[in-house]
């Protein structure tokens, strides 16, 4: 009987390994073999500290090519879409911002700027985003104090990475949309665009 139980457990474990291992990401060849594929992660691993309708917490972070960027500098000027992605050189994240990079006009139409944020340091973000081509939007490093901005918004995961989250903030600085997405999946572009359109209605 003990043998039977051990066999059952062994086979179950093996199957779980297969199912987890087989996850598809549709990764671009631009990153070659340099993407670290983690185990399947819990869809979310943090508790939001902000809500729709609240003033968005301000932050000032260094960016890869645009110096220091503050959220407050866009107040009265631009709607802001913040795209937190979990980490550089990981699946899904590597295939998210390059898509936004070809739709600058859609952001422009909605008078919006995009800010990409991860908790990686600047050199890492520099090397990683270089593979994506020239990005039109600033990429910000929330590395030090580690994940400080992500923590203010409640999207810092327990392993020090951030959630895959979208925040849409209007010109007055109020949060109008939050999507803390399943970290293993990419938020569809249309959901961001439809939320931006609502700001202009």
């Amino acid at each position: 009987m003990k043998k039977q139980r051990n066999l059952t457990m062994a086979i179950t474990g093996f199957v779980m390994l297969l199912v987890l291992h087989g996850t598809a990401y549709g990764l671009s060849d631009v990153f070659k073999e340099n993407i670290y594929v983690p185990e399947k992660l819990a869809p979310t691993d943090s508790v939001l500290k902000v809500a729709v309708g609240e003033k968005a917490p301000d932050f000032t972070l260094p960016s890869v090519h645009h110096g220091k960027i503050s959220l407050s500098q866009f107040i009265g000027k631009k709607n802001v879409v913040i795209s937190f992605v979990p980490a550089a050189w990981t699946p899904v994240c590597s295939d998210q911002w390059p898509g936004y990079n070809i739709v600058k006009d859609l952001f422009d139409e909605n008078d919006a700027i995009l800010l990409g944020i991860t908790a990686d340091n600047i050199p890492t973000l520099f090397a990683w985003t270089n593979q994506m081509g020239e990005l039109w939007f600033p990429v910000l490093s929330d590395f030090w104090p580690h994940g400080g901005t992500a923590s203010k918004y409640g999207v810092l995961r327990s392993d020090g990475t951030t959630e895959r989250a979208i925040f849409v903030i209007d010109k007055k600085g109020y949060i109008r949309y939050i999507d803390v997405h399943n970290i293993n999946k990419r938020p569809p572009l249309e959901s961001i665009m439809s939320e931006l359109k609502k700001l202009n209605q």
Binding site: Y25, G26, S28, V30, N101, I102, R186
Partner: protein, 189 residues
């Protein structure tokens, strides 16, 4: 306890069968293989149906396309290489369509892996893609094709209703002329 064991083993077996497509069948189609059975939705646009030689309906398989050779590109709106490659792939389409000896014999289709209908439309409009693209939002087709990185090209020769792979390779190409010449040569067209 025996009953419990049988139930657990049954569940495990189901998982093995369903999980096998993820874990074991994830190799890209190899040269010489029959192209995997994939069911595509028949495009709503009449131009695309005309191009593919299909009549109105719901679904089709690759061998239903009216052509001797079909080149399948697996791409994504989110893939920088696919973005850079798009003008060259369009050029291949143009070269075929402008050559009376090739027109109708070689057709192109794209599978937009992980892209929604909206995202596929964005890619098509940004790059003026003239051939049909099929969205694959949940990576179902992508899984069947081995979870390949993108862009990935598969050349399929259709003979007597059998779609056989003659080219299967990751990455783009430098020259549209060269790529087309290679497709003609390798397919034996």
């Amino acid at each position: 306890m025996k009953k419990y064991f049988v139930v657990v083993m049954g569940i495990v077996l189901c998982l093995v069968v369903s999980g096998s497509s993820l874990a074991f069948d994830t190799k890209p189609p190899a040269v010489g293989d029959v192209f995997p059975e994939i069911t595509f939705s028949i495009p709503g646009e009449s131009d695309y149906r005309t191009y593919l030689g299909l009549s109105k309906g719901e679904y089709f398989s690759i061998q239903d396309i009216k052509a001797k050779v079909v080149v399948v590109e697996v791409l994504s709106m989110y893939c920088p290489h696919c973005q850079r490659e798009a003008p060259r792939v369009n050029q291949v389409y143009d070269l075929i369509e402008k050559d009376p000896s090739l027109r109708g014999k070689i057709k192109l289709i794209g599978i937009a892996a992980g892209n929604s209908t909206y995202e596929k439309k964005v890619f098509r409009e940004r790059y003026g893609v003239p051939f049909p693209l099929f969205e694959d939002a949940d990576f179902e087709l992508h899984d069947i094709l081995g979870g390949v990185r993108t862009p990935y090209f598969i050349g399929v020769r259709i003979d007597s209703g059998v779609p056989r792979v003659f080219y299967s390779k990751l990455g783009g190409f430098e020259s549209a002329d060269e790529f087309l010449r290679m497709m003609i040569e390798l397919s034996g067209l």
